[in-house]
Assembly symmetry: C2
Homo-oligomer: 492 residues x 2
């Protein structure tokens, strides 16, 4: 039986979770339907709600309940663990520092947008320096005797360490660099799409893709947004997409990506609704779901065969003669400056660059003043190309301006986890490809729901992956998958 302290703690936490969902709705509203002139007032509304949430998260009663709580089973124990972890972290950071970070990152975000538009890193550097200073101060408050960077990593991937990531990423880098060189040097190159891809057609087919991957529109909806995202947990999980006139894959694969995030949230055991385990457990595990949907399933030969047929039906002839050529077009590899536009071969190299640079910044081995130069040098080394301007280099991502140090590696960790899950899935479901070739993803989504989604935050991030794949995750399956796939595609 739940004891009194637990019961009071959980009731209080449930309201906090509900208010957190409200904050998410405001964010969704802002990015999809909010009137253009409402920004200033919305900022004040969100600040007021953030204040309410902050006061709840630091409410001294939580400390008293935690001291008295004795959970009656593993579900309660995990909830208490998560609440305790959050409470201890919030308590360790002085209020004034939290406020200073909020104010500075809000200003830095605007400064970054201006600097990126003007291709002016020097103008942005002092602001970034201030964000970095405050972020390090926060890391010092949190880290105890551990590494500063790991304290930040904990915000996005609890339990992960830089040592573990360095080893994983260290193994990835040389094989990815080698693979990209072989692919770019190959004679065989995929065909280009030509044709008219109407917005209405793109949106209709992207909604069909979301449903095909198991997205439940009874508990969600699809809208347009400049930068696609998914939002919300439980019974209201929304996704967004975008359309680009001659690039239908942009729309389709960002939809499938967000569908992966959304299906994770929608698949969580309803008993966990509005509890600390009622949402995805970490950024890395979340990204593993969006990535396996998008890449290993959505960009594989069987499923693209089905998509090719549907695209022909919707758009008519678009200059690609058969399903094999279409598969090659979907998986075109090309060197580029921008992480968010990168293909499977290049994507993780973008992340590794940021991971190394941000650790150098946090550990004091690199000054903000030298960041642009360091970025450009590393890019030349791994991508073989010189960065032409800051908006294509060090200024391209929003993360650092927002103080999100420690976030980037979760993208690649998600890819690594997706690689492991894909290998295990194929072992467990040998006839998966036949279903995918018919546009039926249910054997895969059922497998993921059973092993990952339904657990929500019940297990720790690495643990839920390990349980799903039957062993400790590592980068091997991802590398094997990429090398096999692109060797085949490019006739290497």
């Amino acid at each position: 039986m739940t004891d009194t302290a637990c019961a009071e703690l959980f009731a209080f936490q449930r309201e906090t979770e509900a208010l957190g969902q409200v904050m998410g709705r405001l964010g969704w509203d802002q990015e999809t339907v909010m009137p253009e002139g409402a920004g200033e007032q919305r900022a004040e509304e969100m600040a007021a709600l953030a204040g309410v949430l902050h006061r709840r998260k630091t409410d001294p009663r939580i400390g008293e309940w935690l001291a008295a709580a004795s959970p009656s089973d593993m579900v309660e124990a995990r909830q208490v663990e998560l609440i305790r972890h959050g409470f201890e972290k919030t308590s360790r950071v002085p209020e004034a520092l939290t406020a200073a970070l909020a104010g500075t990152t809000s200003r830095a975000h605007r400064a970054w947008a201006k600097a990126r538009a003007a291709d002016d890193f020097a103008g942005f550097a002092p602001m970034l320096d201030e964000v970095l200073r405050l972020t390090r101060e926060r890391a010092e408050a949190l880290a105890g005797n551990g590494p500063l960077y790991d304290a930040l990593l904990d915000d996005y991937e609890p339990g992960a360490t830089s040592v573990e990531l360095e080893s994983m990423f260290g193994a990835l880098r040389p094989r990815l660099v080698a693979l990209r060189e072989r692919v770019l040097g190959a004679e065989r190159q995929p065909p280009a799409l030509s044709g008219d891809f109407s917005e209405a057609g793109q949106l209709a087919l992207s909604a069909e893709l979301a449903r095909a991957f198991g997205y439940d529109t009874h508990h969600g909806r699809i809208d347009k947004a400049v930068h696609p995202f998914s939002s919300g947990s439980g019974l209201d999980v929304r996704i967004t997409t975008r359309t680009v006139p001659h690039e239908p894959f942009n729309c389709f694969y960002s939809t499938v990506h967000e569908t992966g995030h959304a299906c994770y949230e929608q698949g969580i055991d309803r008993a966990y609704l509005l509890t600390p385990i009622g949402q995805g457990v970490s950024m890395g595990v979340h990204e593993s779901q969006s990535r396996i949907y998008e890449n290993q399933l959505g960009r594989g030969r069987p499923f693209t065969g089905w998509l090719y047929g549907r695209m022909r039906e919707v758009f008519g002839d678009f200059g690609v003669t058969d399903a094999d050529a279409f598969y090659a077009a979907v998986n075109r590899v090309s060197s580029g400056y921008i992480r968010t536009e990168a293909d499977e071969v290049h994507y993780n190299l973008h992340v590794l660059l940021r991971f190394d640079l941000e650790r150098d910044l946090i550990d004091g081995r690199l000054a903000v003043a030298d960041l642009q130069e360091a970025w450009n040098a590393r890019f030349k080394k791994d991508f073989g190309v010189a960065v032409d301007r800051p908006s294509n280099g060090v200024l391209q991502d929003v993360h650092w301006s927002a103080g999100l140090f420690g976030y980037f590696p979760t993208y690649t960790l998600g890819n690594v986890y997706a690689g492991c899950l894909n290998a295990a899935l194929r072992r467990d479901v040998p006839d998966l490809d036949a279903a995918l070739a018919e546009g039926d993803t249910s054997p895969a989504t059922d497998w993921l729901r059973e092993r990952i989604h339904r657990h929500g935050g019940l297990y720790r991030p690495r643990e839920v992956i390990a349980r799903a794949v039957g062993g400790e995750p590592d980068e091997g399956p991802l590398l094997d998958y990429l090398e096999a796939k692109f060797s085949g595609l490019y006739g290497l």
Copy 2:
């Protein structure tokens, strides 16, 4: 200079106002875009936010600040007055009663929807009886030595009294009953519309109407909803509309009505944003704005002449041969059971019926068990028709199930105020009709913005109307307007 107590009080209140706006956004979301399956979770989110708002409104610090506050000017004084009024009301009602009312009305609302669908008043009566009992208990806590009903009226129309309304409404009733009898007995009858009114055409023209009446979509947006409403204050004021296949006026005039509400909110001095005077001052004054837009301006001969031209351009021939016939069609008078579908002649008779019955309920002169009979008898008397079923009679409105006793009279008060404002407007702006005939409403909306909108809650409800029209408002101008308009239309 603002003193410390005022400054702290206003800062606290500003956050409360911002959180109140967030609640409004959730309501908007629920009625327009929320996924169907999200209702249960949304209820919990809104309950959590309502709890936060309630705790803020009863925060004992407010009492301390109020005791120490010395406002420095009339704007501050009015803000303090409004905060004090709200705080005293909230403090007078026991927490347990507030909670019981919230729970009971929530259940009663569901019971009402079921009873209306089943045309079963007897099944709903016990629930309504419980709502009435708790509502009277609340009125007793609030009323002091004054009338119970006035204590409830104060929620919607601060300062109004049943004595004043009884006198006003008493003068309306016989002349409205006489007018409807003459109109319905007239030989001349307006033409019916025939034609194809596409949803896209209706929505496009309704957006044009909103803009024509001064609605600012930079700080708002228009969506579809089952029951049109307006929502939000300040920089984010949204309206909704609906379309009915063969009834374009339904769409157009509900849009103009909501535009009236929205322009009031949008026209408030920006300096009052997120303060207690940053929104419309009462339901009656609010309704006066929606009604003057919809009726005196929107359904007048000059403006309908312009609308006739636009409708011909958008929909082609729809069986109405000229602008005079169109004016008659827009203003068709017909007996009907439903308040929300009533024309200008019948509308207030619907309200008067409810006003009399709900006072009888609150004052204990009428039992819920006898309500249906009393409704039907009164309806027969004023409308000359027998009610055929409860969903067309006593079960048609949501208000009583939600505990909104005292709300109905503000609809007619709004019409009375609109009558006074219209008379003053025409006196001040003699060439108004020429502009309206061109679809230009700006002389009217400018006049209203200057005299009503911009003040927000600065003056008390009756006072802002009296200042605008240059004297105490009464029902005379509304009656004169209605009698002149419909005598002309029906050749009486």
